[in-house]
Symmetry: C3
Subunit: 432 residues, 3 copies
């Protein structure tokens, strides 16, 4: 018996003297595996909750005659994302070594989360799948708000199938799947570009091809406001998104099994909250200064833009860094709206300023705090992802327009999609 | 000094050389105990949240004149469940060795969660109590929706006392308390039968004895739709339930202290989400095919039916298994509604298709994926629980009808329970 | 080579023989640090959610013409709290050894959460900061409800800056920062006094200086009810608060790294739920007895008062203890309302009975179950904190009244603050 055996036995002997549960505890349970899996599951259910947040935000910001439609789209798009991400998205985004075109297009096969746990696994595959599919759902949620009140249900659903099954997984694979962008030095911690700007670019393409709502931009050149029907819902939706974002950014640390990881997740939570608060306050003060009164919807979008802005790099900035990054996000949410109006782009809920423009800002802000990040690589990543999403979306929207048609008849749009297309009003007893 | 002592000392010596916190960490802390407890607490607060989900779903699906009553019942029934489950339910459901009638009726004593932690405890008793009482609350929530708009407050509350204090704990003890069903080979992971079908059977008995709302079924044989007053609330409620269900099914694994348990919880989360998504999409497509338009309320109930269906066995199926089990649930939610209408059973929110019928389906689907499960045992378990709940409920409802009376006067029902019974309108400023 | 070295090597040798992840796991990872941090983060996001709960509760209990304003205040006050707690609050509340005036006034410097993790750290600083700032936000949320419908936006915001940056951190430092109250034997586990009564006292001072809403108290001496515009929202808000309170009380255990801590958190969750349920039921039965009908808003406030009452000592009581402490809280919520009416104090949402009076009750109930607590010390702590908050608030409100003015013009108040001050209606399509 050599020394090593004796020493090994020493531990085993000590373990054998312990009570049953302690033996098990002393046996090498991989606590880090459990912590990491738990982080994904908690983060995942928080990001799931964001789907409800988008639904409430959008239902609150459309007119009451289109609320049922907006709710239908939001819950259906999440269901589609869940299906498509399993069917092809997960392996397309995380191909491992099985790229179809190396670094550019991943593999095509359904996700499998069952089976033995590999000895070197850091987390449960199911928890990763669960967490990542929520991001796919978020990307789709962003699109529905911009295009509200004037797009038919089924072409929107077909677009969602393509977005969640192909477009999002492909561009996200470039960075998070280990594709070409990740080797180009791009940094996007939780998706200012990969999720938010991606969704925003798809929405922008749709808004351009779909055109504005009837009556939004008058022939006299004036913009006609179409106020949201239920601001309590919109506020609730914003609170839900703010809450969900702790999971969105926090669990994007991808690990909780060491003190350093736990510490990182904690910093991310605090920075995420600070950016949201700063975005809200910046928008609040700016609307008071510009328009002599606070605009609640801008305040809400300011909070969301602050959140989008910090998402590319929520770990490295100090709390003060999160503050100013978020505050500029909030300013963007306010100042971009009149620009879109000028360009006659009708973005019903303000998703383009919040997700696309603040997503750009957040992406470009990363090098201020993250070592090794460069403005060039950030600009490249943003341009590649937003460009890809915009162009492919434009093609898909154009094909859908030519085949299924995108818009309801003028009569139906004026009547409202709820009555015209669904035959079901959201508030049948409350007359306008 | 024998070898064993030396070996034991070896570990202790090594521990003594570590810094203070590491000594504590190296001392046999039962991390599994903490993980398991945490799972119950997270699962518990998620299932608590389902009480809010039912409240919103039901408040959204009733007419505005009965909303205050529906909200009152929902929050009060959860409070009653909390009280009764402590007073008698917990020990009735988990009697250990203290059965009143072995395997059939447990013990009668209040729950105690304080006291020393036994050396072999796998989790904190308080966390198990907290988690399990939420299931008791869920069962009661199911009943309130079916009977909405036509039952007086106090008889409903008396029924809830009996349901939560006696009926649910007794039938649940048969399986989860180690009673006769568990030895008969029945499988019901998180309660397709024990919670959902049980609540649905109690609701069905109530609907039959209570009769339909005035005007629901015309003398001309036609069904008069009575659309819900607030579909944003109904959608919010569904999202809340979907979220809560991750805790409902996930924490029913009852353990998180090993890699295998963490992996199982992760699979359950992913399967639960897949079943909900598939149920929603199946209902969406089916209503389009059958009625030429998508029906949001069916889509919502489809998601819920998918969730109910996967609840009996959320761990063993593949994602594809969860998909088709959930999709059939969604189909059930759509096709059972006209059957109930034909039978002149007035189920205001569709709880009977969603919880009773999809609960049956989910229970019977277990043997497709779970080794050792049999269709016979599944049918036996379902019949026993649903039969017990239906019969006892029918007796209780009949006695309540004969004593307190169940229905308000015709005049009061037409006026709405909010004004008539509570004197408080939910939306006093928004006139129908 | 001495014995100790050999024994130390024994462990290291055994570790070296393990696979990579197990080596890491066997290396002294401080799991307690991770558990504690995770508790703060989960507790923190649950308490964050309470900000949404207050927003919904208050938006539901005001008249529709003031809903946008109430929403604006609620989201803005939380953003201000996030900013101020970083800028000065955190170090003012937890000065360590850096008191400005020992035991009375802490230090003045922004919070820093980055940097190396000290070897003896029990949790991530960022997670503590995140959790504690949520309590600061809660205190501010309490004030907004009482003063609703008749205070201008900006003076309210200035008060919030002072409350969250100075007043709350100072009084909370007296106990939780290790100040003079903590050495005086005061007990307040999660803040019946330090958060709830503190907020309630600030609200009371504001209500007295601001005066009642126009028309609330008629010249004929009668009280004119002004019913809330949306009871589904109010109910949703209550459910949200109830949910958030599990984090509020549970994570105030401040540790989850041992079996004893996990057990304590579990007991706190169960007791917190019991107190809420008992408060709801007590208020329900009492309103039935007093007014011959159940009052939903009282039931909601009863649940909240039960929660406030248990907050000072949620760990030590039995479930039965939590029941009667919570039930008395619920009774307080009902019986204090007519007293306030008699005193012509206009408390729009009932925050004074719920937070101040039930907070007093909960504080005084601690000695019934907590060893070492005394009625004298409890009364001292309550008087000191409530007195400090009332007096300082009264001064600040008075100064604001004299400088900015607190109330809108009579015309604006009658028109509603949404149109008059914000130019944005919450429900523009639903006419009263």
């Amino acid at each position: 018996m050599n020394t090593k055996s004796i020493l090994g036995l020493a531990v085993l002997g000590a373990v054998a003297a312990l009570p049953a549960w302690a033996q098990e505890a002393a046996a090498p349970v991989n606590n880090a595996f459990i912590f990491n899996t738990l982080l994904f599951l908690i983060g995942g259910f928080l990001v799931f909750w964001m789907a409800a947040g988008f639904a409430m935000l959008e239902a609150g910001l459309v007119r009451s005659k289109n609320v049922t439609m907006q709710l239908t789209k939001n819950i259906a798009l999440f269901a589609v994302a869940s299906l498509m991400y399993w069917l092809v998205g997960y392996n397309l985004m995380y191909p491992g070594d099985a790229w179809t075109i190396a670094g550019l297009i991943g593999g095509f096969s359904p996700a499998v989360i069952q089976g033995d746990i590999p000895a070197d696994a850091a987390y449960a595959t199911g928890s990763d799948f669960f967490f990542q599919l929520m991001f796919c759902g978020t990307t789709a949620s962003i699109v529905s708000g911009t295009l509200a009140e004037r797009i038919k249900l089924w072409p929107f659903m077909v677009f969602t199938v393509i977005l969640t099954g192909l477009m999002y997984p492909i561009e996200a694979s470039w960075q998070w799947g280990g594709g070409w962008l990740s080797t180009a030095g791009f940094n996007d911690f939780a998706g200012s570009t990969l999720v938010h700007a991606a969704g925003g670019a798809a929405a922008l393409a749709g808004a351009l091809i779909l055109g504005p709502r009837i009556g939004k931009f008058g022939k006299d050149g004036r913009v006609h406001p179409m106020p949201g029907s239920n601001l309590t819902l919109a506020t609730l939706g914003t609170f839900v998104l703010w809450l969900g974002w702790f999971g969105f950014n926090g669990a994007s640390q991808l690990a909780l099994g060491t003190e350093a990881d736990a510490n990182a997740v904690a910093i991310i939570f605090a920075n995420t909250n600070m950016a949201a608060a700063a975005g809200a306050l910046a928008a609040m003060v700016l609307t008071q200064v510009l328009y002599k009164k606070v605009d609640l919807t801008m305040l809400l979008n300011g909070a969301l833009a602050g959140l989008v802005a910090i998402t590319a790099g929520p770990l490295d900035p100090s709390l003060f860094g999160a503050l100013w990054i978020g505050a500029i996000g909030g300013i963007i949410a306010v100042v971009v709206v009149p620009m879109l109006d000028k360009a006659k782009i009708d973005d019903v809920v303000g998703a383009i300023p919040v997700h696309l423009v603040a997503g750009f800002w957040g992406t470009m802000a990363v090098p201020f705090y993250t070592q090794g990040a460069s403005f060039g690589a950030q600009a490249l990543g943003f341009a590649a992802v937003a460009g890809f999403m915009f162009i492919v979306s434009a093609i898909v929207w154009t094909v859908l327009k030519a085949t299924m048609g995108l818009r309801p008849s003028e009569e139906d749009e004026i009547m409202g999609l709820d009555k015209a297309e669904l035959g079901l009003e959201a508030y049948p007893e409350f007359r306008a």
